[in-house]
């Protein structure tokens, strides 16, 4: 698997548009994208570049970089923007079609819909826009490639490629969809994710090679590891396989920079003694009914305590959770002192359409936050996306300004993930009637 990077410095002028698009098309093909996906990334680049021709600061260059990551290609566009309007990246940016003054930004909206992920980062006076397009993989066929049986003895180890695919198939055939990461719909993608190190995997196998269970984990952020499983196949209730799989994961992450291990979708086999229950979120089962799952967390080190930013309306929730979980925290209040602020808010959205699940995250806060949050809820509900979450990073004071907009739009805080971002993360869940679930 490659992790190479190629870059292009180009002036944001229309005559260079073919240079930029050709570069991205050739690079993404070289990094393994098929023609359809390469074209989608190319068209997204065309829209962004065209926009930059009008918006980037005069005389500055745009740096376009493409990196291969095995199962996806990441394109980064770095530029100096004079009037770059990130509102176009809101899901609700479609409203701008009606706004004659903002038709230029509709290109950005189109670009955002053509890729699997986009994100912004600021670096000094430059903006970095990252676009990610994943490879296309054959979907799971619906058949398990091997049968499962109770194992008399087993060892836990990293699987080879075929074992990994068999493990993914067994998991798909024996567990409810909401307990499985969406990547498992594509066994080949999971193999590539393990190959580049984005996933780590362990399976329990007996001497002849039968697979009794497995677990995967990935680094979710600098300090957080998320795991999926443990998945056990036909093992007796007294089996110690689940503990052995969790131990293998802990052995791998215990002396790393990660501070916490979390499972948002714990299977019934998870050894409860190993974890701290964080709080519950609702997920959709195959029959459409909602089920509540308690997120399991394990801190990996002795906690040194920290400070978090919070809106006063969030304090009762935080005090209760910090007390229950014995996390030492100094809660610093963030209150409006009448200071000037940006007029527009921007949210990013991560979709898992198979689970009717969307997670919103703040990109930018502005005075229209209540309206923007409300518009997102309305848009997503219209698309029958019933599980709406919002993640707020308490390590970034500006994100706490969204608290009022969330509470007033029917969201309620459900769980606190210690060190989930720059600080602790609070996950809000939208309740359909706005009165709590």
């Amino acid at each position: 698997m490659n992790r190479l990077q190629v870059s292009l410095n180009v002036y944001p002028r229309l005559e260079f548009l073919p240079v930029a698009t050709s570069f991205v098309e050739k690079a993404s093909t070289a990094f393994g994208l098929a023609a359809t996906e390469a074209l989608a990334l190319t068209l997204a680049t065309e829209e962004v570049f065209t926009y930059l021709c009008g918006a980037a600061a005069a005389g500055t260059e745009v740096l376009i970089s493409c990196r291969g990551h095995g199962y996806y290609v990441e394109e980064e566009i770095a530029f100096k923007a004079q009037e770059f309007d990130m509102r176009a990246f809101n899901l609700t940016g479609a409203t701008s079609f009606e706004d004659e003054g903002r038709t230029r930004e509709t290109g950005l909206l189109i670009a955002s819909r053509m890729v699997d992920l986009f994100r912004f980062a600021e670096s000094g006076d430059r903006l970095n826009l990252t676009l990610v397009k994943e490879k296309a993989y054959p979907a799971y066929s619906g058949e398990a490639v091997s049968t499962a049986k109770p194992l008399d003895e087993f060892v836990v180890r990293a699987p080879d490629t075929e074992e990994l695919k068999a493990f993914v198939s067994l998991t798909n055939s024996r567990y409810q969809r909401y307990l499985i990461p969406s990547s498992f719909s594509y066994p080949g993608k999971v193999v590539d994710m393990v190959a580049v190190g984005d996933y780590r995997a362990a399976v329990a196998v007996d001497p002849p090679g039968s697979i009794g269970g497995g677990l995967v984990w990935r680094r979710e952020s600098a300090k957080m590891v998320e795991f999926y499983g443990p998945y056990l196949f036909a093992q007796p209730p007294e089996s110690t396989m689940a503990e052995a799989l969790i131990d293998a994961c802990l052995h791998d992450v215990a002396r790393s920079e990660s501070l916490g291990l979390i499972s948002r979708y714990p299977t019934p086999e998870i050894p409860a003694d190993y974890f701290e229950p964080l709080g519950s979120l609702a997920f959709r089962q195959a029959d459409g009914a909602l089920v509540e799952l308690t997120a399991c967390y394990r801190h990996l080190e002795e906690d040194l305590g920290s400070a978090v930013w919070a809106d006063p309306r969030l304090e009762p929730f935080l005090s209760r959770e910090y007390g229950r979980l014995a996390f030492a925290r100094e809660i610093r209040r963030v209150e409006d002192a009448g200071e000037s602020s940006w007029p527009f808010s921007v949210l990013s959205a991560e979709f898992d359409r198979s689970q009717a699940r969307v997670t919103l995250r703040p990109v930018w806060w502005g005075r229209d936050s209540e309206e923007i949050v409300g518009a997102h809820v309305e848009t997503l509900r219209k698309e029958a996306l019933s599980c709406l979450f919002f993640e707020m990073d308490l390590g970034k004071a500006w994100q706490t300004h969204f608290t009022a907009a969330l509470l007033d739009n029917g969201f309620e805080p459900r769980l606190m993930i210690p060190y989930g971002g720059a600080g602790d993360i609070v996950v809000f869940e939208h309740t359909s009637d706005g009165s709590g679930s």
């Binding site: 052995h251 990996l300 014995a326 100094e330």
Partner: protein, 380 residues
Amino acid sequence: MTHVALDRLLPEYVRKFTAYIPSKPDEELMKLYGCSRLFRLNNNENALGPPPAAQEVVRKYPPPRAAVYPSGDVYYLRYKLASLFGMDPNQFIVGNGANEVIGFVIKAFCEKGDNIVTADRTFAVYEWMAQFSGFEPRLAPLRDYAFDEEGLLARIDERTKILFLCNPNNPTGMYWNEEKLRGCLDRIQDRLIVVVDEAYCEFVEADDFPDGLALIREYPNVVVFRTFSKMYGLAGLRVGYLAGSPDVVDAIRRTCIVYSVNALAQEAALAALGDQEHIARTRIMVAEGKRFLKKEIARLGLPMIVGEGNFVMIKLPMSDALAYRKLMTEGVMVRAMTGFRVPNHIRVTVATMDAMQAFVQALKKVLESQVRSARALGSL
């Protein structure tokens, strides 16, 4: 502000390494966790403090002497060590805690492509020091909480320069007796340096525990580590030492930092060394504490691993990191063992009876609150 090109400047093995972040000062922790007193049962310090003569040295140390450099090679302490153990002063190197001498040995013997071998669940600094110096640490799983000879030997190859044995092992307290240690040394012969870390040797009660220093004459590739931080209660002054055969120590000395042991530490260690009454008093405290804990922890129905050393390890029916935080709110600081790759265990320093009682009381409360919280939330 311009950015330093760390991506280019940092070697990959340093880039990948995560810095160890030590605990905050006690006062800060007490503020954070809202407790009015704190029993430190996390670092295996000696609750009785240093021996009386060493305390006197600290008390009467003349402030103007702080302006004068210490003995660069810790002259008098090396001579006293030599006299006490019947060796030559040049067979000793004293460092700023035993951690520093670990670095001396690795720097002296390892070069690009080399590796070190040790256990997976032992004192972490051997592994860390090798890792951030660019050498591969090869880790053999413990067997029955003790170093596994076969597992260690299987990981040795022609690029292995050092085998680190922690005897007794921190955190399990298990040890290799003389026969076992000799057997392993005979199999290794002189292929590599064998470090025997005896940080807790003064606590050992077992008759068949080997004296590493006595083995050096017979096995010149053996290097022994000892410390003044545990039994001698001088952890705050940082003094540790290594001993080996003259040729080996001469080689290690080439990588040493001289003047790293401060003058007060040198004098306190000199006064402390060999105080048999202090050792006896401490052993009595540890024996009483272990008896008490065995009885109380058994009442709680928890498995406890009691080996040699002034610590025990307890298996909990909950996450050790959560237990750490809850015990902190009760004013008791223990060591959570996930970082040692022993999940759901805590290591507890055996200290004075008031601390042991406070620990047991706090642990009872934590376990009760865990049961209540599990009931309230229902099973996962």
